[in-house]
């Protein structure tokens, strides 16, 4: 025990050293004696001094003193620490009265009166004060001659001080000790000791700076230039405590002297930033103390003062074996899905969603997180959402293929960029959440009761590669399955198509190298909204058509050629959800987007479901891939959004539609469709490079669209699979190329 105490003391030494050395220099002498005085055998002090090694004096002296105390300690139990203080006080009294016998075992008499140790200590300090004041000049009048005869003595002081944890400063005048001590000339002076709780740093400081005569202070500064009073600061009054997880190795946690157990939990979470900090909040953590002497172990309450509790349980100091045991609840705090979360917070989503989707997370993790990493960010912490937006923008996904942003849009964007935030139109693209699609749905079960939050803005992740998107779409379940990576297959037919020389004519807008040449169907029953969306599509220079209800939307979609549908959810005649379901059903029946690889696997289910009659689409040529349906909803109900996703929407935008978001959606989904329709894309690119005359065709959008559709012949349909039957008319060149 003594050994480990010595270690602990050494660990604390640096802190103590600076504190102590600012105190009277003579105190070192006195202290050494103080440690010895309680002993019935004064010679022991000498012994221990003599036997003290130059390297580890502390442990030796400590063992000596501790042994002595041990006699009492065993009986004292929990209150040993305060008894120490009392003992020291009495030692002082004894010294003052010059009667050593009064000291001897006095402490044990009122061992258990020390229920309020600090008050007692203060009392002692106060009692002591008048005397102290009277002789304070004496203590410091001759600091230079007061130097410790042996360097270790200084440490002794710290040791003794350490034992009496609460004694912050001790000033002894030791007339009988110290060979060169000039204070010998005043042998009748009582020994002074100022007993202050260590946590009262202010008091210490005040005492040090006011009680010391200026000359003495100056002198002390001369001698201890590096350890002058100015070096005392509250953070020096920290200590380290051992903690461990059950069955794991212990570790030291630095706490402040006056920290509560609750503060310690925070420190522990910082220390265990990975294993605990990521999944637990500090109130989840409980600390168990396992006292010595086979006493019942106990869980510490958050309000208990850590230092004092430790001192009470482990008089003489806590050893590594006595580390506090960290307990955490078995049920882990639900973990957020890492990917979407960052972005949700990037957009400074309203907090109420945060409570639905993301558990409160420990501050340390948040503080360390970078905006670009999928870490936990409380809303608002990320002060620079745009950085992240840029980093995750869709353009990254299609690097190398996506030209610069459209000119009309860029003005808009610049304008918006000046704003601190995106506004309250939040959208969510669950399909790019890297497979976390199911999570919102799950959470929705919990969140449906309170008014749910707007949807979650999710710029696409850069790593949302094409195959990812594809697989996610499959996960959404409504769109028909398709191959994970459409590109390779698309590349080959492209050549044959190029060879046939049928150059597509594209709207001039496409030629600015911005938004992919997509065709958008706007489904919106409110003429105001419709007008706005149309105007916006015009600005983006993409083709669009409109539908005012779900039935009309399905009808228009059946004509083919649409890449993107902006679908209002609540529509007359047929709701957006019904329309979406119908579109998905038809897509499935007609195997749209089914490529050979997946066609074989899904063949069994398709066999009996051969589209027939009115369900059969005119030609699959115009349906390269499942259309992207972005739901538009003014609803603030989360359930509505999930319903939309469940119906087969790929994404949703909240009304009022933020045009920045809308542009982004058009871009990203358009780019994705362009990847799927790679040959069309390439043609468009080649065409835009080689043919400038199409600019004249600005007005001829309808014609252009028709042509375009024709050119985007069914690469998706698979000549070898069951789908080939659906694409009979257009199969010619592709068949050669593909097979």
């Amino acid at each position: 025990m003594a050994r480990s105490i010595g270690e602990r003391l050494r660990a604390k030494f640096s802190r103590r050293h600076s504190t102590a050395s600012t105190i009277s220099h003579s105190s070192a002498d006195g202290e050494a004696q103080a440690a010895a005085t309680p002993s019935p055998a004064p010679s022991r002090t000498l012994q221990s001094h003599a036997s003290r090694g130059s390297q580890r004096p502390s442990s030796t002296i400590d063992s000596a003193t501790i042994e002595e105390e041990g006699k009492d300690v065993a009986a004292r139990g929990v209150h040993v620490h305060s008894v120490d203080a009392g003992e020291a006080t009495r030692a002082d009294e004894r010294d003052a009265s010059g009667d050593p016998k009064t000291l001897e075992y006095q402490p044990s008499n009122d061992l258990h009166e020390t229920a309020a140790p600090s008050s007692k200590l203060l009392e002692a300090g106060i009692d002591d004060k008048p005397k102290h004041d009277s002789i304070s000049t004496v203590d410091f009048s001759t600091p230079s001659t007061d130097i410790l005869p042996v360097p270790e003595e200084d440490e002794d002081e710290h040791l003794a001080e350490e034992r009496g944890e609460k004694i912050a400063s001790i000033q002894f005048d030791t007339p009988t000790y110290g060979p060169a001590n000039p204070n010998n000339s005043k042998p009748d002076l009582p020994r002074r000791q100022s007993l202050l709780p260590a946590q009262q740093t202010k008091l210490i400081k005040t005492l040090l700076e006011t009680d010391l005569p200026s000359e003495a202070r100056a002198a002390s500064l001369d001698y201890f230039t590096n350890n002058g009073p100015s070096t005392i600061s509250p953070n020096m009054v920290s200590r380290k405590i051992w903690v461990k997880r059950p069955g794991a190795s212990a570790t030291l946690v630095t706490i402040n002297e006056d920290d509560l157990v609750d503060d310690v939990r925070d420190m522990i979470l910082k220390k265990y930033a990975n294993s605990l900090g990521r999944s637990f909040d500090s109130p989840d953590v409980t600390l168990r103390i396992v006292p010595r002497e086979q006493r019942q172990e106990r869980t510490l309450g958050p309000e208990e003062p850590m230092s004092r509790t430790l001192d009470a349980y482990f008089p003489g100091g806590q050893t590594v074996e006595e580390a506090l045991v960290i307990d955490v609840p078995l049920r882990r705090t639900p973990k957020p899905s890492p990917q979407p979360q960052n972005r949700y917070y990037d957009e400074q989503r309203p907090m109420e969603t945060g409570s639905d989707y993301f558990p409160p997370m420990p501050v340390p993790a948040a503080a360390q997180s970078s905006p670009h990493l999928p870490t936990v960010l409380p809303a608002g912490v990320n002060g620079n959402p745009h950085t992240t937006l840029t980093a995750h923008s869709m353009s990254v996904l299609t690097t190398g293929h996506v030209p610069a942003l459209p000119s009309p849009g860029s003005t808009t964007r610049r304008h918006h960029r000046e704003r601190p935030r995106i506004g309250r139109q939040h959208t969510s693209s669950p399909t790019v959440l890297n497979g976390s699609v199911s999570q919102p749905a799950v959470n929705n079960e919990h969140s449906s009761a309170p008014p749910a939050a707007p949807p979650l803005p999710t710029p696409p992740a850069p790593q949302a590669q094409n195959h990812d998107l594809a697989s996610q779409i499959q996960r959404v379940a409504t769109p028909p399955p398709r191959i994970s990576s459409p590109r390779p297959r698309n590349n080959r037919p492209k050549k044959s198509k190029k060879a046939n020389g049928d150059h597509p004519s594209l709207p001039a807008g496409m030629l600015n190298g911005a938004v992919p040449p997509i065709n958008v169907l706007i489904v919106e029953d409110n003429i105001i909204n419709l007008k706005l969306l149309e105007a916006f599509m015009k600005r983006l220079k993409v083709r669009w058509q409109t539908a005012m209800n779900g039935r009309e939307a399905v009808t228009k979609w059946r004509a083919g050629g649409f890449h993107l549908v902006l679908m209002d959810i609540q529509l007359p005649i047929m709701s957006g959800l019904e329309a979406t379901k119908e579109i998905r059903r038809l897509e499935r029946l007609n195997s749209i987007g089914v490529f050979s690889s997946s066609a074989s696997s899904s063949a069994p289910e398709q066999g009996p479901d051969e589209p027939s009659g009115e369900d059969k689409l005119p030609s699959s040529v115009l349906f390269k891939s499942p259309v992207i349906i972005v739901a538009l909803t003014a609803s603030s109900l989360q359930s509505d959004r999930h319903e939309a996703l469940a119906a087969g929407c790929n994404d949703f935008l909240t009304k009022p539609v933020n045009f920045v978001w809308l542009e982004r959606k058009v871009m990203e989904w358009g780019c994705m469709q362009a990847l799927i329709d790679f040959d069309g894309w390439r043609k468009w690119k080649d065409f835009s490079q080689n043919n400038t005359e199409t600019e004249k065709e600005k007005s001829g959008k309808a014609i252009v669209a028709a042509k375009k559709k024709k050119n985007r012949a069914s690469l998706g349909s698979n000549p070898g699979g069951s789908t080939s039957r659906l694409a009979v008319h257009e199969e010619g060149p592709e068949t050669v190329a593909v097979s």
């Binding site: 808009t412 704003r419 506004g423 309250r424 409110n526 105001i528 909204n529 603030s636 009022p656």
Partner: protein
């Protein structure tokens, strides 16, 4: 939810620059993006057509709501509430939008947030009646502001 909204709107209003003061019942950012669609900032032809189109629509809708209220037609009230909610949201007329949403929810026999069922039809009709009065006032306010803006 309404709290969050108003809070957010406050922030977005603070954040927008150079927008005419449209009062606190209009979400500046949303409205601004419509203004950005104008080719000519003096004429403001496009946004004017949108805004005045909305006036027309709102007044028609209010009239239909009055009629439906008379007929105690909750379903129609709900759908009218939804309808006007869409366009008022698009224009950033947040107060009108919120009230319309309430009407929509009341019409579905739910509480104002649309989360709890409120089976009492009379209660819902009463609430719609009150909300309708409120939303007309809110509308009158934004109409005044907007007409002044386009004057």
């Amino acid at each position: 939810m309404p709290d969050t909204h108003s809070h957010e709107e406050d922030r977005s209003e603070e954040g927008s620059v150079g927008l005419p003061d449209l009062g606190d019942s209009i979400d500046a950012m949303t409205f601004e993006q419509i203004l950005e669609m104008d080719d000519d900032e003096d004429e403001r032809e496009f946004s004017r057509s949108i805004v005045f189109g909305f006036f027309e629509q709102a007044e028609q809708t209010f009239k239909k709501m009055d009629d439906a209220l008379e007929e105690r037609d909750l379903a129609t009230l709900s759908s009218l509430g939804h309808f006007l909610k869409g366009s008022s949201a698009t224009l950033g007329l947040t107060k009108v939008k919120d009230s319309c949403e309430k009407i929509q929810h009341y019409g579905q026999l739910k509480d104002e947030a649309g989360t709890t069922d409120e089976p009492d039809e009379d209660k819902c009709l009463e609430r719609i009646k009150d909300t309708l009065v409120a939303v007309k006032e809110e509308y009158a306010e934004v109409e005044k502001v907007l007409k002044k803006f386009y004057a």
